[in-house]
């Protein structure tokens, strides 16, 4: 047997019978180890317990449902002008009032919400996935590949996204698809950088090395071992990337490079509203309110999701519950 030298003393690293003792009360110990639960159901359970999460989810659901159903059931067409009903203040017939040419703002706002949600979700997901893939390759492979990718990212980050956006919009025209392509082209660099950092952080951790030793392929290691650890972070990233994409579209509308008419978006409606907010306040207020609510709910939900997804937080909370129960039990006894 090999002898190990520690603190100047020789130890025998073989275990003998004396090193082990029987567990006195098996049940008590097992209870303190978190009961094994499947990951996702628990995330869901935790999310449902969070009042903030429920509230933001409700707001999101209401907005999404309105965006789906208002344009279908509205008696007004979102693009049909009616000069006799121009510039009306909110009323029962027109809950959000009408615009300059008599189009029903209620219908328009929710048609715009559709566009914004579509662009927001897809426009956030695609650059995120592209960035993740490139970041993962860069971080995992390292060396020259990493160097080159990161320099490309540096250069692309230095070129203002407006140039890409204008180029794409000019080439493909002002449709949701081209806006998404433009967002993807100008937005992947940030997430690539972030993801690379995360990969580097976990690349040399013990569990990754263990998986590597067992012969797992890089793809599997990243997806099965590293990803769950950063899922919380990613969820928050994604939840704030959606508002980012919605804002980007609104910003493009502000410059005058938005979506093609007669289609509209929340960004376009609220930028139009800003120009007349002194005289037609309702045209400013409602689109701004919906866009703010939407983004607020997304942010809030992202925060809650992170809390629910974070395995460390989960253990901590569980242990806190156990301690509390033990203390209560202690007082009873």
């Amino acid at each position: 047997m090999e002898k190990i030298k520690k603190n100047g003393q020789l130890y025998d690293d073989t275990l003998t019978e004396e090193d082990f003792s029987p567990v006195p009360d098996r049940a008590a110990i097992v209870d303190q180890i978190r009961p094994s639960m499947r990951y996702w159901p628990e995330v869901g359970k935790r999310l449902m317990k969070n009042k903030m999460a429920i509230a933001s989810l409700t707001v999101l659901a209401v907005i999404v449902l309105l965006a789906i159903f208002v344009p279908i059931f509205s008696p007004y067409e979102y693009d049909a002008s009616n000069f006799l009903a121009a510039k009306q203040k909110p009323s029962w017939a027109h809950p959000f009032g009408t615009d300059k040419v008599g189009r029903d703002m209620f219908t328009r706002v929710f048609v715009g919400t559709r566009t914004s949600l579509l662009i927001g979700v897809i426009g956030a997901l695609i650059p995120y996935i592209i960035g993740m893939t490139i970041g993962a390759i860069s971080g995992w492979v390292g060396g020259t590949v990493d160097m080159v990718i990161m320099r490309v990212v540096d250069v692309m980050l230095c070129i203002p996204s407006m140039i890409y956006m204008i180029l794409i919009l000019v080439v493909l025209g002002g449709s949701p698809v081209s806006l998404i392509v433009a967002l993807a082209l100008s937005g992947w660099m940030g997430s690539a950088r972030g993801f690379r950092g995360r990969i580097l952080q976990f690349k040399n951790r013990e569990f990754v090395l263990a998986a590597k030793t067992l012969g797992a392929r890089p793809g599997r290691i990243i997806i099965r071992h590293i990803l769950p650890n950063i899922l919380g972070n990613m969820a928050v990233g994604l939840c704030s990337a959606i508002p980012g994409a919605i804002f980007a579209e609104a910003g493009m509308s502000y410059i005058g490079l938005g979506i093609s008419p007669p289609m509209t978006s929340l960004g376009q409606l609220s930028t139009d509203g800003v120009a007349v907010f002194m005289t037609e306040f309702h045209r400013f207020f409602f689109p701004s309110l919906i866009i703010s609510l939407l983004i607020f709910a997304l942010f809030m939900f992202g925060n809650c999701l992170r809390d629910a997804l974070d395995p460390k937080l989960r253990d901590e909370d569980y242990m806190a519950r156990v301690y509390r129960r033990m203390r209560k039990g202690g007082r009873k006894a």
Binding site: I159, P160, Y164, S270, S288, N303
Partner: protein, 305 residues
């Protein structure tokens, strides 16, 4: 260390060159030409102007002469504003944009960090909820909406501050506030997250176990370690603030680089756009460079790289 600095400098120069080159050719891909815009019905005039600016020469020749100017730090003259040199525009607009950005950062960063720290220390308390909620609410409102509301309240109704223009310090207050709201809530949120993350680390538990006072733990261990990752982003952030915000500059009629830049892109002013992009690249690269060096000084672990 010297070798590292030299290597970084070389990479920085290479980055700037790459930005200039990519941007030079990207801009030429945009359809249209700047002179047709001014007078759409006069093709002859457009041709004359193209010749005046040498834009009718082969592209590579223009590229070489552009690089030549770049080496001598001469960005050339604007195409749409005849007689206006890019250098003069930077000299005039940059201080204004920089002042706005620096003011917003000076106000926003300490306040954001402080609120973040306090929220983390009193996690779950009233301040924490208040900060979280208000930061999310304020980020959820588009900045042009926020700016318009602030103008209406503080400028038109209360008449505390001027509504727009950039003439005296009082004129700078509203835009600084609007700009710093993003900074405050951003820093507050990420500082809080980082503080909590650090709070779970073993070395903190060790310090507590060793009987170090709570204040000492927070100040010397938790804050110090939490603030490190924030420094990495600071380079880009500062550079971003120095380049200005198009929307805020437009709403408040501030003659800043952000607004000028957008106008020069949409006006197809190649030389102006290019000059401003390269200028921005220099700032970003320089900021990153300095941050990296600083990081090495603060965090000894990084210095090995």
């Amino acid at each position: 260390m010297t070798k590292y600095i030299i290597k970084r400098l070389l990479i920085s120069l290479l980055t700037i060159w790459a930005v200039a080159t990519v941007c030079f050719f990207l801009l030429r891909l945009l359809p249209g030409n700047p002179f047709i815009l001014q007078n759409p019905l006069d093709m002859k005039n457009a041709e004359k102007m193209m010749a005046y600016y040498g834009l009718d020469r082969p592209l590579w020749e223009q590229y070489l002469s552009y690089l030549d100017g770049l080496i001598h730090l001469d960005f050339g003259y604007s195409l749409t504003h005849v007689g206006r040199s890019v250098n003069a525009v930077i000299a005039q607009y940059f201080p204004i944009t920089a002042q706005l950005g620096v003011q917003a950062l000076l106000l926003g960063m300490p306040l954001g960090l402080l609120l973040g720290i306090l929220s983390a220390v009193r996690r779950g308390g009233g301040l924490d909820y208040g900060c979280q909620l208000s930061s999310v609410v304020l980020t959820a409102i588009p900045s042009f909406v926020l700016a318009a509301v602030m103008q209406l309240i503080f400028g038109v109704y209360l008449k505390w501050f001027p509504v727009s223009q950039w003439l005296s310090f009082r004129h700078t207050i509203l835009p600084t506030l609007v700009l710093s709201i993003g900074v405050i809530s951003g820093h507050c949120r990420s500082m809080r997250t980082l503080m909590l993350e650090v709070g779970r680390q073993d070395y903190l538990k060790t310090a507590k176990a060793k009987g170090v006072s709570n204040v000492r733990v927070v100040v010397f261990h938790q804050i110090r370690n939490a603030i490190l990752p924030m420094i990495t982003n600071m380079g880009l952030e500062i550079a971003g603030m120095l380049m200005g915000s198009y929307i805020i500059e437009k709403v408040f009629s501030i003659p800043g680089l952000g607004a000028y830049f957008v106008n020069s892109i949409t006006g197809l002013d190649y030389t102006m756009t290019l000059g401003l992009v390269v200028f921005q690249a220099v700032i970003v690269v320089a900021a990153n460079f300095i941050v990296d060096l600083l990081y090495g000084l603060i965090d000894p672990r990084v210095r090995v790289v």
